[in-house]
Amino acid sequence: MNKSSRSVMTFKNGIHPVYHGKELSESAETRVAPLLARYTVPLAQNAGKPPEVVVNPGDHVKKYQLIAKASGFVSANLHSPVSGTVKGLVDVPGPMGVPAKALEIVPDGLNEEMEPLPAIDWRTAEPKALLDRIAECGLVGMGGASFPTHVKLSPPPEKEIDTLILNGAECEPYLTADHRLMLEDPESVLAGAAVMGRILGIGDRVFIGVEMNKIDAIHRLNEKAEAYGVNIIPLKVQYPQGSEKQLINAITGREVPAGGLPMDAKCVVQNTGTAAAVADAVLRGRPLVERIVTVTGSVVKNPGNWKLLIGTPVIEAIKLAGGVTEEPGKLILGGPMMGFAQKSFEVPVSKNTSGILLLAQDQAVNYVSGNCIRCGRCVQGCPMHLMPCAIAAAVESYRFDLAKKHHVMDCLECGACAYVCPAKRPLVQHNRRAKAEIRRLTAKK
């Protein structure tokens, strides 16, 4: 295990963002959002194939009713967040800047719910039954990548898995959704962790890594952890502590090989939000239709955390937080380091939206990027031990082969290099370009 001099676990390199912004919303209790006039539930909320719609325009749906069915193994079911009428497929602005298909549902206010699926006693149930329930409930990774959970929990038989790690690091500045979840509902997180541990056949190597800036959450989890056989690991506050490869390194001391997956280091990493959703699915028989979202930023009147239904337009969430105090400079879905800037306020909340961040105009600075001064700060900051300066130089001269030799494909796009660069060079953008180009070239062959 990696231990720093202060004997708190962490990984090598990485950065320490000056301003965390967590104080804006970390003490705000999670509130339930009132019912809106309409919801646009995006279809493609999972990595892999989008699910197929199984309802028709005009159909009446109940809350938790299946509205789109997984179309293959790497796909996830989608359920209605409200009871109401399906209006049909509409185009909504997608989180990546390109329009996405969404099902528009107008609630009827009756709040009719489907009968919950029978609860499963996870301590005695077959792993297969638990896995099927997770797939049925449409669970995806709620940390950001939205990879279907049942796929992540069924590693190929030749891969031995001996460790399950839950990511409670929440290393992104501003975000506090996971923090509030661990504080308010620690038992769901622990139960979810234990269920996933049983599916993977792991005895006592179930860990939850939590950064030290969430001491209260660590205490709350520790109170109940023993009953579920889960270990709570305090981690150093360091970005990107919550990236799965860094988390594995910090907790187990193992390295995921270049180009490999966590399972190559005998690990599975899940988000704490996903764990709570697993508990909901298995113990309470409820599919995933809502999640905790942090609505924050210095221009938001009352920053806080809300339990939002999937398909809530971002603008409505901002209204819940009291609107804005001044004209915002930038809207970001996710955290400021890895989140995606948005063009439109109509983007709906999806299963992987952890935060809605509004930056002030003076925070959304247009930097003038200069030439590389070869200070090497990006190399010191890169948690994957790459040389972002060398990759950027290769990309600027269209030498994508050279960028590949510098292992650009292992880049996490965490933004640590660009954050520390004194010349304000767009290093992450160069890396993304190189990755896209290399993927395109290999696909051609």
Partner: protein, 282 residues
Amino acid sequence: MSTIVLVSVIVMGSLGLLLGLVIGFFAKIFKVETDSRVDLVAELLPGANCGGCGKAGCADFAKSVVSGENPPGKCPVSSAEQINAIAMALGIDAGGGFKKRAVVRCGGDIHQVARKINYNGVLDCASASLIAGGPKGCRYGCIGMGSCAAVCPFGAIELVNNLALVHPEICVGCGKCVSACPRGVIQLVPIESTVHVYCNSPEKGPEKRKNCKVSCLGCRKCEKTAPEKFKVEGFLAHVQYDAPVLPTEEDVEAVKCPTGALLTAARHKEIETNDPEFSVNE
């Protein structure tokens, strides 16, 4: 003193003579047979090595012309006289109809198209297109950061008001810009064509209209006026470049495109270069 000079002159001289003979001898033995016609054709070619013919360079193209793989007319850069000269020298048919030139099928300059995001990244079209669908509101039009101008070996592309503009008198149709454009906005068209649809967006009319004032709305007015010259596929009009008769300025006047997406190349250039505030809707 004099003997040293004498000895060194004799030694160096005889060494030189001997090695010269050896080189001459081996040059005769290992002589590479070359086709003198290849050198002749290569000399007549422009030597720009642009790759527009599909070969690695002018020397490679010269080889393929001599072997009969390609007709001389496939060189996009050479003028008709130069091609005829090559054909005469080889005594073969010149071949023709390959002359093309590039056209940027977008009229969305800074005044016409909405800018949806405040872009502050790498000034390169491919990099910009990866971020939120690009800085302009339209996801199909010219990004306007000049990746095409950067690769043009002839300097035929100019950026005017954030829009790439091909100068037809300089462009030779090598097609380098076509592959450099991440949006596929640039098309190679027959050199005789003067009328183009300056829009590349397959979106529905109202969607396009939200983003751009000069987009093709797919109203089919051009198709109804001259069905053999224009064709609307989906919501986007196309000039039928392989039609027997290409559209002319009269056709443009007859159609009266409501948004001004259908224009002659000359008028398009005039709008972009001379009259930046021009908008057909005002």
